[in-house]
Structures are given as C-alpha cells and as structure tokens.
Amino acid sequence: MDRPSDDNTLKRLLGPAEPELLCDECFEKLDEYVELKLRGAPADERIPGMRAHLEGCPACHEDYESLRELVQSDDPS
C-alpha cells in the first residue's frame, strides 16, 4: 500500500475535531445536503455535523461525491 503522509494519517486516526453526524443520519440527509450545495445554499448551517462526518468517513464521502456528480450531470446548469 502507499505510505500515507503524516497529516493524512493523523486525520484518519483522530477523525474530525468537531461534532459530527453518524452514517445513518448522513444517509438520511445526503440528498438534501447535495441539493443545498449545488444551489449554493448554506448547506453546512442547515445540516450541522454533515461536513465533519464527510471528512471523517471515507465511505459516506464517496457517496456524497457520487451523488453530487450524478445530480449535476442531470442538470449541468
């Protein structure tokens, strides 16, 4: 495996410093969060804890990236 940099390793070991949602809550709100982000609305204020969770959970982060790209591809404007 590639050797991770220390910063990334520390982030993966310690996780986000601020309070975060957990995976089930993240999944429940992911669609809303993506649409808020794509509209340029204050998504992180409306759904507190989501950004921290996406930083701490690689699986949910991948789901977020995929959903964002897919929705954007439906409506590129």
Binding site: T9, L13, L14, G15, L22, D31, V34, A59, S66, L70
Partner: protein, 231 residues
C-alpha cells in the same frame, strides 16, 4: 380551442398526472415532478408496474454511473460482471426505495432521494468486489509512523512525539475491538463496508466504533497536554 395544460412527465410511456402552469418556476416543477413520482408509485395495477419499471431505469442509471466512476480501480474485473453488479444493485435499491416511500419528505427532488439508494448499493458491492481477493489485515502495516521528510527538524520531532503518544494511547485506552477497527480503517486503508462485511456488522455500527475510538484517543492525548485543534 383551449390546449391542455402542460403536465409533469416522468418519461416516455408514463401517465402525466399533474397539470402545471407554463410559468412554473424550476423549484415548482421539481416539486410537481416529485409528487408525480410518488402518486404513480402508489397507484395499483399496470400503472404502478409502469412507474416501478421507470424507477428501476432511474436506479440503473445511478448504479451504472457508480460503476463508471470506479472502473479504473476495477480494471481487472470483466465489464459483463460489473454490469451484473450494477443490475443487482439497482434491484436491491428498488426494493429499498419502495419500502421507504413513506419516509420521503420532499427535502430534495424525488430523483435525488432515489439516486442515493442506487449509489449506496452499487458503492458497497463495488468496494467489496475490489477487495474480494485481498486479505483484511487488522494489525498495523505502517507502524511505527515516521515524520514527513519535507518538514523542519522541529516539526518532525513534534510529529514523532505525537505519533509515539498516539501509539501509547491506542495500546492503553482502547478496547481490543476498537483497536482492531481503528488500525484496519485508519492505518491499513480497509474500506468501511468491506470490514463491516468481514466482521458481520453494518457500516453505521462500525463507524460508531471508530468514532468512539477517535473520541477516546483525542481525550487521552488532550489529557497528556497535546493540542489537537488544527487536526
């Protein structure tokens, strides 16, 4: 003669049920489209079957999209097998969406809400497929960690000190299960879904273990005088 009002369309072949003003805004159109999906899926008989077939198409679009995003990492897997995975994921996502229709609250477009089920099912299957022949290692592979070469000597020394403290904390304050989960996920790069599958648990339960282990580590390091605000 008056022409019929514009209506929401769910795609070719589906009944359009909601009249919509031509001047409707994009959010109004999106909301009407979502209501049309819900109404169609709550019908009975052939109209419902038709709506379910359209929903399956929508979910298959999501699962194939996920396959295409990950194709590079799965270059050793035949295209036919990947398409089978996409179809299976769409089938499972369809069951999940239909079972949770009453949970849809309109916080996003119905299609965005439905897509996430397809992407989740496909992502889980594809991560598991990528790790199918790989061993899941629960012991550290990169232990002990070394400081980045590009840093100042002081920075490297601080990092080494922090890494040594983290090693102590991992050994001293985590349970055996927390230690295994933290090492596999954070150090050895095992995907969450893969480890959940091997340990017979769920992504959510496993992440909670990781979350609790991280909180304990942070608290223990803070007690020992480390400032972790920037991490």
């Amino acid at each position: 003669m008056l022409s019929p009002p514009p209506t929401v369309s769910l795609g070719a072949g589906m009944s359009a049920r909601l009249p919509l003003s031509a001047a409707a805004s994009a959010p109004e159109r999106a909301q009407a489209d979502s209501h049309a999906w819900l109404s169609a899926l709550r019908l009975v008989g052939s109209e419902r079957e038709e709506a379910i077939a359209r929903l399956h198409e929508l979910l298959l679009r999501a699962t194939r999209f996920e396959v295409s995003r990950r194709r590079e990492a799965l270059s050793h897997v035949r295209g036919e097998e990947l398409d089978d995975l996409a179809i299976q994921a769409a089938d499972d996502a369809l069951v999940a969406v239909l079972a949770k229709l009453d949970d849809y609250r309109g916080a996003s477009r119905f299609t965005t809400w439905a897509y996430k089920f397809g992407l989740l099912e496909a992502g889980v299957r594809l991560r598991r497929r990528a790790w199918q022949e790989r061993e899941v290692v629960l012991e550290p592979e990169v232990w002990p960690l070394m400081a980045d070469a590009g840093r100042t000597p002081e920075g490297q020394a601080e990092t080494r000190e922090l890494m040594a403290a983290i090693t102590d904390s991992i050994e001293g304050c985590l349970t055996a299960h927390q230690r295994e989960v933290l090492v596999a996920l954070a150090l050895n790069g095992v995907p969450l879904d893969v480890l959940a599958d091997r340990l017979g648990t769920t992504r959510g339960a496993l992440y909670k273990t990781l979350h609790d282990a991280r909180r304990k580590l942070r608290a223990d390091l803070a007690k020992r005088g480390f400032t972790l605000d920037s991490i």
